[in-house]
């Protein structure tokens, strides 16, 4: 899986979203990476719960992906169990997506950053299996062969949240 982090380019006038890829396999210094990006005028993107829900809708409904897991910032076992059970039901019947979204939207009403991580699995137009992962701190991962294409799709999908 290739990794990247989303940033807002503060050098651009209307908050352009950019991706900065990084190689997690090498001895990777996350601190220096973010510090360097920060010095270059890039602001870290927070993938808020609302953006996570938007991504879930896009990948599940438009791209017919599966949602493999959802993790939350607060360690709430009851909530985690409930969501995991909805995800299991979703595997058998995609109609449960509405229930999942209503739960997630309820959570997002009370907090901007409750969803920590969301993972998807699906296939590309050329039938390559794609694994996707998004974290609240703007880090995302995509199966190696589709990194560029999916990065551009994600940026297109979320950029409206950052227009000022």
């Amino acid at each position: 899986m290739d990794h990247g982090k989303l940033f807002i380019d503060k050098n651009e006038s209307n908050n352009k979203i950019v991706k900065v890829p990084y190689d997690q396999s090498q001895k990777f210094d996350y601190y220096s990476f973010v510090r360097k990006c920060h010095e270059e005028g890039l602001q870290q993107v927070i993938i808020t719960s609302k953006i996570m829900i938007e991504l879930a809708k896009y990948y599940f409904l438009d791209r017919k992906f599966r949602i493999s897991s959802i993790e939350f910032i607060e360690e709430d076992k009851e909530l985690q169990t409930e969501i995991s059970s909805i995800l299991n039901m979703l595997e058998k019947d995609r109609a449960y997506f509405e229930l999942l979204i209503s739960k997630l939207e309820f959570i997002a009403c009370h907090s901007s950053i409750d969803i920590k991580k969301i993972c998807f699995k699906g296939s590309s137009v050329s039938n390559n299996v794609i694994n996707l992962m998004f974290q609240v701190n703007g880090i995302y991962g995509v199966s190696n062969t589709n990194f560029e294409e999916e990065s551009n799709n994600v940026i297109k999908k979320i950029k409206r949240y950052f227009i000022q």
Partner: protein, 213 residues
């Protein structure tokens, strides 16, 4: 209302000066025969003082009714309490959130020209939800501006009464070693001169700690 406090202190002095001035022009008690000659000035002064004092009090009430405004901004984690200074800690993903409830009451014109700046430490970037971005703009990475113009109506004579909740999602620069960063999120109100005199502002602040704290 700052002008109200100034007015309360100055009102008796002002009333006395105006009463003396009016008395020097015309003393109504001169025409009241039942008042002894030697206390006509004192009696006139007492009556004039009472009248002027009441007129000034009525003017103060009128100003308060039409122009006095109030902005309350409370930062909180769970329960909004202005006497608390919440401590917000970034998690292992370097993100955290503080809620802010903003309440405005008073004159549309005065409040509409006021802006609230939320200032955060330099190692913090702030981000808002799409809906909130209509009233809150990030100015610099670590600063944002709430334009109260979006919370009042265009009717300049009407009284404003609005409340909104803002979630400040924040992300910190990650810390290389076990360095601890702390900082304070605070509010600065930008008002017109009239706003400074007629608007009361109440707020608390919040403390930010990075994940290695």
């Amino acid at each position: 209302m700052k002008i109200g406090k100034i007015f309360t202190v100055l009102r008796p002095v002002l009333s006395a000066l105006i009463a003396i001035y009016l008395l020097s022009l015309f003393n109504l008690v001169d025409y009241v025969s039942i008042v002894p000659e030697d206390i006509k000035f004192e009696t006139g002064l007492t009556i004039y003082f009472a009248i002027v004092e009441n007129i000034l009090f009525a003017i103060k009430l009128k100003i308060k009714e039409n122009y006095a405004s109030e902005i309350t901004c409370i930062f909180y984690k769970e329960d909004a309490d202005i006497s608390n200074k919440p401590v917000i800690k970034f998690d292992e993903n370097d993100v955290c959130q503080v809620k802010c409830v903003l309440d405005i009451r008073g004159n549309n014109n005065i409040l509409g020209k006021s802006k609230i700046r939320i200032s955060l430490p330099r190692w913090v970037d702030v981000q808002f939800d799409e809906i909130q971005s209509e009233i809150v703009k990030t100015e610099e990475r670590h600063e944002c501006l709430i334009n109260l113009n979006h919370l009042v109506t265009n009717d300049k004579k009407a009284r404003a009464s609005a409340s909104c909740q803002i979630n400040l999602a924040m992300i910190a620069l990650p810390s290389k070693e076990l360095n601890t960063y702390t900082g304070t999120g605070k509010i600065i109100v930008k008002e017109t001169i009239l706003g400074k005199l007629l608007c009361d502002f109440k707020s608390n602040s919040f403390e930010l700690r990075n994940s290695t704290y």
